[in-house]
C-alpha cells in the first residue's frame, strides 16, 4: 500500500527536523481516560473570553453549554462530561499563563468514555441539505475554533464576508510538526467525515475551489483520501495536493504559498487574497456539529515522546489535565526533562501538570534531555557569529538575528524596522542556530513587550 510520493510544492526557507512520527503513526485513535475531573478553560480561542453560564454545585450534562460570550469573535465552551460544577477558578493555561476555568467533577457512574470518530458519515453525504446560515450557526453553537493551534473561531472564518469574498478553500493536512500524528490518524480513520466537513465548509463560505494539502511523508493518507474522494459525488472538486515535507509547511501562509504560489500580505489574513484555510480536525468537527449538533467537547491528542510508556493517539475530553493523560499512557519511563503542550518546534513547555487540554492542543510531547540536546538542555548560549543560517531558513524572509539582538538590547523600534510583527514564531531560526541563541524566544518577548506598550494586552 506504501506509495512513494514526492512533491515539489513548497515555500522558500524552512528546515528538516527529524520527523519522529513513527512512535504513534501506526497507533489507532483510542478512547481517552475516564476522567474524574475536568477544567474547562473559558478562553480556548482568539477573541473575547467567555462568561460562565453555570454556578457552583450546578449539575451539568455532557454537551451542555457552560460559558458563552456575545462578542462576534468568540466561541462558547461545553462540558464534555456529566457531573457537578465544583468551582470556577484559575488554572494554568498553556498559552495565557493563568486563566479562569470551570472545574467539573465527573459523575463516576454516568460517564462512558466517548468513542472516537463517527462511522455514521458515508460517501453519499450532500451538503445541500443544509443552508449556509444553518451551517454557520451550528459551527458557532458548537464552539468550533481552529484546531491546528491558532484557535481562531471558525464561524468568523467561514461566514461569507462581502468585503473579502473567498474563492479558494485550503484544507491543511500537513502536520509538519515532528512527533504529532493526530491529524494523520483522523485523515486515515475519519475520511468520510472530513470530506463531509469540507463540503459543508464550501457550502457555507461560497468557495469554488478546494485544495487539500498533505505532506508527502504521509503517502497512506494521500492514498486513502484520494480513494475516498473517487466514491463521493463531486469528489473530484476536491483536489489533493501533496506538498513537500518541510517544516513549517503546515503554517497557513506557507501552505498557501506552496499550493497557490501567492503571498498573504504581511500582517494580513488569507481572505485578503480570497483564501480560506482550515485544518483537517476543524473540518471534521464542523461535520459532526452540523449533522449531529454535537459540540466540540473531545479532540484527538497525540501523547508521545521517548519518555512515555505507551505513546498513542487518544480521543480525549477537553479539560483533561496533562497529568491524568500522561498517567493514562502508562506514565513516563525514562527521566523526562520537558513536558511540552504541542510539538517540539512550537509547543509550550509547562511546569504545572494540572494544565488542562484545550481545543487547540494537538499533542503532549514528553522529551528527554538527550532529545533536547546538551547545549539546549544546559541553556548555554554563545555569541552570534552572524552565520546567516537563521536568515536562510526563515519562511517569512526576515532577519531573525537582527530582530533578536534588537530585542535583547531593548531597541524595540529597531526590531520593528526589521518587521518583528511579521514573524510567525515557527522556531526555525532557534532550531538551526549554532550558537544556540533562543532567537524565537527573543522575538516572542519583543512582540509581547510591543503589544504591552501599545496597550493591546494588559501587563
Amino acid at each position: 500500500m506504501k506509495v512513494a510520493v514526492k512533491s515539489r510544492f513548497t515555500f522558500p526557507g524552512g528546515t528538516h527536523p527529524p520527523q519522529s512520527k513513527g512512535l504513534t503513526a501506526e497507533s489507532k485513535t483510542q478512547p481517552g481516560p475516564a476522567v474524574k475531573q475536568v477544567a474547562i478553560m473559558l478562553s480556548q480561542h482568539i477573541g473575547a473570553v467567555c462568561r460562565p453560564l453555570v454556578d457552583k454545585k450546578e449539575q451539568v450534562q455532557a454537551g451542555q453549554k457552560i460559558a458563552d460570550c456575545d462578542a462576534f469573535v468568540s466561541a462558547p465552551v461545553h462540558s464534555p462530561v456529566n457531573g457537578k460544577v465544583k468551582e470556577i477558578a484559575l488554572r494554568s493555561h498553556a498559552v495565557l499563563g493563568r486563566s479562569l476555568a470551570v472545574i467539573i467533577d465527573a459523575d463516576p457512574e454516568n460517564n462512558p468514555p466517548k468513542q472516537p470518530g463517527c462511522t455514521k458519515f458515508t460517501d453519499d453525504f450532500d451538503a445541500n441539505n443544509y443552508s449556509a446560515e444553518q451551517i454557520c450557526d451550528a459551527v458557532r453553537q458548537a464552539g468550533i475554533v481552529g484546531m491546528g493551534g491558532a484557535g481562531f473561531p471558525t464561524r468568523v472564518k467561514i461566514e461569507p464576508n462581502p468585503r473579502l469574498p473567498k474563492e479558494t478553500l485550503i484544507i491543511n493536512g500537513c502536520e509538519c510538526e515532528p512527533y504529532i500524528t493526530s491529524d494523520y490518524r483522523i485523515m486515515l480513520e475519519w475520511t468520510n467525515q472530513i470530506i463531509a466537513g469540507i463540503k459543508l465548509a464550501v457550502k457555507a463560505s461560497g468557495c469554488s475551489k478546494v485544495f487539500f494539502g498533505i505532506e508527502d511523508n504521509k503517502p497512506e493518507a494521500i492514498e486513502v483520501m484520494n480513494a475516498a474522494l473517487k466514491t463521493h459525488a463531486n469528489g473530484d472538486d476536491i483536489k489533493i495536493v501533496p506538498v513537500k515535507t518541510k517544516y513549517p509547511q503546515g503554517g497557513e501562509r506557507q501552505l498557501i504559498k506552496a499550493i497557490l504560489k501567492k503571498d498573504v500580505p504581511t500582517g494580513g489574513i488569507p481572505p485578503m487574497i480570497g483564501v480560506l484555510a482550515l485544518n483537517v480536525a476543524t473540518v471534521a468537527a464542523i461535520a459532526e456539529a452540523v449533522v449531529y449538533g454535537s459540540p466540540l467537547t473531545h479532540r484527538v491528542v497525540t501523547v508521545t515522546g521517548e519518555a512515555i510508556a505507551n505513546p498513542g493517539n487518544y480521543y480525549v475530553p477537553i479539560g483533561t489535565s496533562v497529568e491524568e493523560l500522561i498517567e493514562f499512557c502508562g506514565g513516563v519511563t525514562e527521566k523526562s526533562a520537558k513536558v511540552v503542550v504541542g510539538g517540539p518546534m512550537m509547543g509550550i513547555a509547562i511546569a504545572d501538570l494540572t494544565t488542562p487540554i484545550t481545543k487547540t492542543t494537538g499533542a503532549i510531547t514528553v522529551l528527554t534531555s538527550k532529545q533536547i540536546g546538551r547545549a539546549k538542555f544546559a541553556r548555554r548560549q554563545t555569541p552570534c557569529i552572524r552565520c546567516g543560517r537563521c536568515i536562510e531558513v526563515c519562511p517569512e524572509h526576515l532577519n531573525p538575528t537582527k530582530i533578536a539582538h534588537a530585542v535583547k538590547n531593548n531597541a524595540l523600534d529597531l526590531a520593528e524596522s526589521y518587521y518583528i510583527s511579521a514573524c510567525i514564531e515557527c522556531g526555525c531560526c532557534s532550531y538551526v542556530c549554532p550558537a544556540n541563541i533562543e532567537v524565537t524566544g527573543y522575538i516572542k518577548v519583543g512582540k509581547i513587550t510591543l503589544a504591552r506598550q501599545k496597550k493591546k494586552i494588559p501587563e
Binding site: P265, M345, G427, S430, Y431
Partner: protein, 338 residues
Amino acid sequence: MLRDLRVSCAPHISEPLSTRSVMIDVIIALVPAMAAAGYYFRIYALILIPTCVISAVATEWLCNLIRKKPNPLESLGDFSAVVTGIILALSLPPSLPVWAAVIGSVFSIAIGKMVFGGLGANIFNPAMAGRTFLTACFGILMTSWTVPATIDSNMPQISANLPHARTQATPLAWSKQAIKTETGAKIANEQIQATFTGEVGGCLGETSALALLLGGLYLLIRRTINPHIPLAVLISALVFATIGYVVNPEAYIQPISHLSSGAMLLCAFFIATDPVTAPLTTKGMWIFGIGVGTITMLIRIVGEYPEGVMYAVLLMNAVTPLIDRFCKLVPTGGKPNV
C-alpha cells in the same frame, strides 16, 4: 510524579550544530592547504602553523583573564582562535621568524578580535588585521618568498636575499614587474601549472590552488559556507583580469592565473567568508564579494603592490555594517502597510 521539569521557549529541539562544530569544519577544510604547505615548505610549515595557533589561543586566554571572565578557558572551546591562527600562518611568508609570527598572532587576537568584545563582535577579519600589522612593521620579512623544498631554484631572484633562505619571486611579483616594465608577462604565465600544484614561491598556504579548492569544496558540501561570497569574489576578479588581458596581453598575465596565484582562493573560501565580518544577506554577500574581488584586482593591476587581498578584505569589512543596512530584507508578504 515528574520532577525537575525544564521550561523554556520553543523550539525544544535543535540541530546538532555548535560554533565549535562550524569551526572544526573550517579546520578540516584547511587540512589540504596545511598538508600542501608541509609538503612544499617542510620545516617552515611545521614551525609557523603551531606557533601561530598556540600564540593565538594563549592571547585569547590572556585577554579573557584581563577581562576578568568567570571562566577564561570557556571561549577557547569554540576553536575560533585556532582557525585565526591557522589562517594567519597560511598567509605568512614561510621563512618568517618565529618572533614575528608571534607578534602577528597576538595582534590578530588582541587588537583584531578581543578589544571589540571577542568572537562575533569584531569588525575586521582578525587574521588579516594581524597580517596587515606585520606588513606595515616588517616589510622586507613579509615579502621574502622561500623556494619550495621540492624544486631546486634556478629561477631569477628579485628580492633581497636573507641568510639561509633561498628566495624567489612569486607569480604575482612577476606579473607586477611585467606591468611596470612592459617586458611581457611570460614568466608569470609559465607558472600557471605550478600555481595549481603549489610548486611556486608565495605565502605558506596560498600556493597550492588544488588544496584550497579541495577545502573550499568541503565547506560548500558541508554547507558551512554558502557559495555567494566565493562566487562573487572569483567572478568579479576574473572579469577584471580578463579586461586587462584583452586590453594588453603582453603586459597583463592570463586571467586564470590571477585566480590561482596569490591569496585569491584562500581569500575566496576562507577569509572573505568569515561570517562575523561579512554581510548577512545574500544580496549583501554579493556586493561584499564583488567589492573584495574588484579591489584586489585594482591593487594587483593598477596599484603599487603585487598582491591586494588583505587590503581588499579589510576595506570591505569596514563597509559591511553599511552593506547590511542597505540590504534590508523585505518580508515574504511585502512591507506591512502601517
